[in-house]
Subunit: 234 residues, 2 copies
């Protein structure tokens, strides 16, 4: 088997800094975790909040702390630091090679989509962002690592797209259309969802948007780990 | 402008864990840093050392600590923890948007290659790995961010390739051949160097090998940040 992960990320129009922060970190007992946070509002303040949350979470995961405990700790730290006045969404998607599972932790009203075979499930159980009160806990979904599994995680910029013009994006439909038409690579799917959102906002995204796609498939080729990334500079 | 970064990484033959650890982290004042460490020996012990060093460095960089100070701190921490008995190489390649430079910090006898226009420079000033004594300092090279710049960083697995058979890899020649023949993407160049090394070891790498290629070019397309990665599972 192999896991492929793709990310597409764009700033709110005319905003130099994204309120979204995403990091990928290797897990100490095997596998990796993608950590995505979206700080309340946008710009510099939001960036500081989402970076603080992601830094806290990856620091704990690197020490072997479980994902759920890391999310709770980040929430309590944010709550304490900001006096319950600032919220931040958090998604952790982990490939855990100790348990051979994918662990999805969600503190985000935006759902996660899980595709397997021809089925697309929308995981939209109620979920609160971090930092707004004591006792925040993530919604956790654990899935067996098996070929054909595809997971789509995003920040609320995707669902806000088009709202300004009264044509909000239907993420579920967009995913379904992509999956029916072709067998998209994770990068194609992430790019396509992002482009769809940007088009609905007429090329001027109303919010920061981040899309993460994780796919498990039978191994295809060598055993080389690869990563490539692109950072456009202003 | 845009920066593209590619990584190719393979384990020593028949080794479940790589002694090399690589993480990419966003810098708090803009840009990102690639942090690559190679722990002494191989397998589980080496992995623990390189993870400890990388974790220390990314934690400090995330707080805004300068690259050189982070490398010194990681060296002192390793020296103290392991009583000067364990060494670890460290390379940090940072795209620093505060200074609009690329900052390369090297605690590694293996050189770094810097290509610009048709020129290929081998940066091989003497450099000590972390942890072996007090007062370890990195060799630092700072370069203006400008299109056409390409940087190649790797762990010593690349230079060890072929030694077993008395045909050690000539990294400089391999880079030159790639650059003359074509205008390789960073991923093509990283893959090509890795494949060359694996072939010299007859498909059974004698050591963990990691290759990082960083390229600066004029912006080509949209302003979307992208990342894709592949994790082969055993």
């Amino acid at each position: 088997m192999e896991v492929q992960i793709a990310v597409a990320k764009i700033n709110k129009y005319a905003s130099l800094e994204s309120g979204d922060t995403l990091e990928v970190i290797e897990r100490p007992n095997g596998g990796l975790s993608v950590v995505l946070a979206d700080g309340q509002t946008s710009g510099r303040g939001a960036k500081a909040v989402s970076m603080m949350v992601v830094r806290k979470v990856i620091g704990l995961l690197a020490e072997g702390v479980r994902d759920g405990a890391a999310a709770r700790a980040a929430s309590d730290a944010l709550y304490t630091d900001k006096n319950a006045k600032v919220s931040c969404t958090l998604n952790i998607a982990s490939v855990d090679l100790e348990t051979n599972t994918i662990v999805l932790s969600r503190n985000n009203p935006s759902p996660i989509f899980i595709c397997h075979d021809d089925q697309i499930d929308c995981m939209d159980a109620e979920s609160s962002p971090l930092g707004v009160r004591r006792d925040i806990r993530p919604v956790i979904t654990e899935l067996e690592l098996q070929p054909g599994l595809m997971i789509i995680v995003y920040t609320d910029g995707l669902t806000h797209a088009g709202k300004r013009r009264g044509q909000p994006m239907d993420v579920s439909n967009a995913i379904q259309a992509m999956m029916e038409d072709q067998d998209p690579t994770p990068q194609e799917l992430a790019d396509s969802l992002l482009v769809h959102a940007v088009n609905l906002d007429e090329g001027r995204p109303a919010d920061d948007v981040s899309v993460v796609v994780l796919k498990v498939q039978t191994i295809n080729g060598d055993t080389v780990r690869r990563m490539s990334l692109r950072l456009p500079l202003s």
